[in-house]
Symmetry: C2
Subunit: 104 residues, 2 copies
Amino acid sequence: MSKETIGDKLRKLREENELPLRKVAALLDIDVAILSKMERGERRLTKEIVQKLAKIYKHDTEELTVLYLSEKVVYEIGNEDLALKALHVAEEQIKYLTKLNKKK
Amino acid sequence: MSKETIGDKLRKLREENELPLRKVAALLDIDVAILSKMERGERRLTKEIVQKLAKIYKHDTEELTVLYLSEKVVYEIGNEDLALKALHVAEEQIKYLTKLNKKK
DNA sequence: CTATTTTTGACAAAAATTGTCAACAGGCGA
DNA sequence: TCGCCTGTTGACAATTTTTGTCAAAAATAG
């Protein structure tokens, strides 16, 4: 059960769609070099780009967004021995916050 | 069940210890203005500072660190409707990563 | 070999973070 | 009131991080 990064996944999707970096980069209006680096995890992705890519590749946007966000979280607190505890606390806070939002 | 920020908590602890910003800032070797802003959430805390403060206030370091980390997470992905899903995926990844670390 | 695609690194531009400082406001006791 | 202490605020520069652009090199396909 090895973990695939979102970069790997995006590359796979691009290859499945047989699109060169050049074309996708044009659609995103960014430089090829940047897209190449994003796929290899050398440059950060943004939520907007991930979601545009999901559309381009006709792939589930939610799945990719979740993967993107979770990777961001791991990047922020990963390798901390307290990471799991922190995640649980964060979960509580988010539940609380979304409850608040519903009430408004 | 309202949520207390780590800044609020740090301020409370400081007041309980009856220490002025001036003294604590000196111990941390930072400017008073910065510490003031950190307590009010206007400037970012760092893990290092949080842990130094825990020592100064003789308070559980782990508790404060977890609070610090969880706030960071919420800041990064909070208010996303996919936030909870992302947290669960992140949890899986972290469990996987820490398992790897143990094996080495 | 040639053409296309991808990678890499250097560099500048832009943005975000951080540190420093001085002025200001409020409380409090002399 | 005055002086002193504490905390707040905003402006500004310094620093660090992120981002965009480009060209050359490397890899791949035909």
